[in-house]
């Protein structure tokens, strides 16, 4: 398992290599990429903030949940912080499994869980303004 908050550019191949084991017949990789539009606004760039020590701990918790729920082999996650331009990768989640269905299902669920509980925040900067985007406040017992 590998969990990282980093200001450096993310490296998908490194995560794929990390999770691939000899018993893995599939590796699912989710890549979250900065796009140029949100809510009709032309986005110039995004800025990410994180609570790194806690984020890495929470990533491990949700990965361990996924390992208990699905027949998967390994999980790796990375989120980037700082200023990200259009087209740059902000989030990578890689999941390996003996079979593709478990890899896809676990990867999909981990993306959703990540966005609910991992302490990372995004500021959107567009022509003429900026705003910290806040997700839905989830159940406090989380």
């Amino acid at each position: 398992m590998l969990f990282e908050i980093t200001s450096a550019a993310l490296d998908a191949q490194r995560l794929i290599d990390h999770v691939r084991k000899d018993e893995s017949g599939a590796v699912a990789l989710f890549s979250g990429v900065v796009r140029n539009e949100n809510l009709g606004r032309r986005v110039l760039y995004l800025e990410y903030d994180a609570y790194p020590e806690m984020a890495e701990r929470v990533m491990r918790e949700i990965a361990e949940e996924a390992m208990r729920r699905w027949a998967i082999t390994d999980v790796a996650m990375q989120h980037r912080t700082g200023k990200l331009e259009i087209g740059e990768t902000s989030l990578l989640i890689a999941v390996s499994a003996p079979h593709r269905k478990e890899a896809f299902d676990a990867c999909h669920s981990l993306v959703d869980r990540f966005k609910e509980v991992v302490p990372v925040w995004k500021k959107e900067v567009w022509e003429g303004g900026e705003e910290w985007i806040e997700g839905e406040a989830v159940n406090r017992s989380g």
């Binding site: 609570y51 806690m54 925040w121 910290w132 997700g135």
Partner: protein
């Protein structure tokens, strides 16, 4: 007795700092630490409906106790990833 407070994203911009210190006396709850912090940084007032707390890097209830050397973080609704939340 002092506890450290960490602020992120919009909250750090409102307060103008990413770290603060509060005197927790004989011990306070996380919610009480927030209220005390609002006296130092009035711009943080009125957020208790939307923030969550973490104590020493783990999500905690507002009633969680905070003592000497603990680290409290105020956690606004998270928004990692890239597509719409």
């Amino acid at each position: 007795m002092k506890a450290k407070v960490r602020l992120f994203a919009r909250l750090s911009e409102l307060a103008g700092t990413r770290e603060a210190e509060v005197d927790v006396g004989e011990g306070l709850t996380a919610g009480e630490v927030y209220h005390l912090l609002c006296r130092q940084y009035p711009a943080l007032s009125g957020l208790n409906g939307s923030i969550r707390y973490a104590v020493n890097g783990e999500y905690a209830e507002p009633g969680h106790s905070v003592g000497e050397g603990d680290e409290v973080a105020l956690i606004p609704p998270v928004s990692g990833g890239s597509d719409a939340v």
